[in-house]
């Protein structure tokens, strides 16, 4: 670590003339130091050359694609920022020339926006249309339900009132009218209550599905980082005593891995293992929509890694972000 700092300072000219002299003489005398420096400088040069190639590739691509191809990449704008353009049409070549500038209409739809977001959007749209269908069915059925209710109420009243009507004439008629009015009010209230209850259940169901979608997005977003765990070796399995499984298996069905991960997480004590297995466990809980346990695990990771601050601050902040997302 100290060597890397020194190498950085050397290549960026931050060493004093005296330190520089010492550095060069050490390169001549200390073979290990010289080998480390050579590996370092070749690595840094390699990073820069790779980045340079990337840049050349991008520049060549941008020079060679047509404006239409670029628009295809970006997707079309549902609300064009350019004046006198119909809102739903993609930008034409002529409009494209107007290029940079902002119009009044802020919301912009980008068809090539991240595929995950689009998937979620389409799921939500499907869900909405399903709810609308259910609602319209309920509304269609309501008048007939009301009709049946009125019929049964009327029949019940006529049956109970029939003997009394025979006995007393006009006074019974008045009482019967009052009862009818009260009964009408009751069935109206009960109908409204039923509609409210149905709406409440639909909203609850929608919210639950929404929460589950958020859990899935959080899992798939952070699970992508799991590839980093296997960096530098072939050891992609977790667990022992016949309970091991691969990271691929974890990604496809994380809920199965929870018992193994709990054991593993409880047994580790190095900050790196706490971060890796803790996050795997928390994400498995999230995928299983068990937010309560996920929050507990995330909080313990934060508490444990706080002792290793600032080296693990970024992991702590990542855990806080996940905690906020599932909070």
């Amino acid at each position: 670590m100290q060597n890397i700092q020194q190498f950085d300072r050397f290549i960026y000219g931050e060493l004093s003339p005296e330190e520089r002299k010492k550095f060069i003489s050490r390169l001549k005398t200390d073979k290990d130091f010289a080998t480390d420096f050579k590996a370092y400088i070749l690595t840094v040069a390699g990073i820069c050359k790779e980045a340079q190639l990337d840049d050349i590739e991008f520049a060549t691509a941008m020079k060679n694609i047509t404006p239409e191809q670029l628009l295809e990449i970006m997707g079309y704008r549902k609300h064009s920022p350019f004046p006198a353009q119909t809102d739903d049409a993609p930008l034409s070549g002529a409009r494209f020339d107007l290029a940079v500038g902002f119009g009044e209409s802020a919301p912009v739809f980008n068809a090539s926006a991240s595929s995950k977001i689009q998937e979620e959007r389409s799921k939500i749209d499907e869900e909405r249309s399903r709810i609308d269908e259910e609602r319209s069915k309920i509304e269609e059925e309501l008048p007939s339900l009301h009709g049946r209710l009125i019929y049964f109420e009327a029949k019940k009243i006529s049956e109970t009132e029939a003997p009394a009507t025979k006995k007393s004439g006009s006074s019974t008629k008045t009482r019967s009218a009052k009862t009818w009015s009260a009964k009408t009010w009751i069935w109206q209230a009960s109908s409204i209550a039923a509609v409210v209850l149905i709406a409440f259940i639909v909203v609850l169901d929608f919210e639950k599905r929404g929460r589950e979608n958020v859990d899935n997005v959080v899992f798939s977003f952070y699970a992508d980082d799991l590839s980093a765990v296997s960096r530098g070796g072939d050891d992609t399995s977790i667990g022992s005593d016949g309970q091991s499984f691969t990271l691929e298996a974890y990604t496809s069905d994380p809920a199965k891995a929870i018992p193994v991960l709990i054991k593993k997480y409880e047994s580790v004590d190095s900050p790196q293992d706490i971060a890796i297995y803790g996050k795997l466990l928390a994400l498995a809980y999230i995928k299983a929509h068990d937010r309560r346990n996920a929050r507990i695990v995330l909080q313990t990771i934060i508490d444990k890694l706080s002792a290793y601050s600032p080296d693990w601050d970024d992991t702590i902040s990542e855990c806080r972000t996940i905690l906020n997302a599932v909070g």
Partner: protein
Amino acid sequence: MPTNFQEIANQWYEKMRLPFFNLMISRFPRLRGGEIEDIYQNIFIAIQENFEKGRIKDNTSWYSYIMTVGYNLACKHMRHADITDSYDGFDDNHDRPTTLDRIKAINLELQEEDISLFDNPEADIVLGEEIARTPEPCATILRLFYYERMPLANIAEVIGFNSARSVQSRRWQCVRNLISPVKAALKRAGIII
């Protein structure tokens, strides 16, 4: 590997989205998602326009270029909307010597002292393979620090870290993790002893 120009441009368009959104959210918290998306699209339109007008240098570092153009467009948009959010400019480091220039100068200096650094062209092949395997966020941090010469505070903004200090400690960790396999590969290839 991308097979055509549109695919390469598409990869960059997707790759730069998150860092750009991070920068905008950090610098202009009052910008809405739709407005950021609008600015992001305009950057790519502007790049193509600038190519047509011959305004782009050969050795442009695209990461910094995209961030700088986006930052300027956002400032323009905020001025138009009469809102001020960010007081700092985005450091694009165009005038500083590049790391590769520095390494070349050091190589010449050390050659005078009879120390040779680049004596094997095969090193690039070995390095390319190892560097391509670097995971995120290390790949981005190392690229931004060594190639783009981006200040640590700016790197923290674009990759969504809390502070420059976090980036610094992660960078050391990333270099260490990359150098070990590189050293082993170079030794296997007989490039270093």
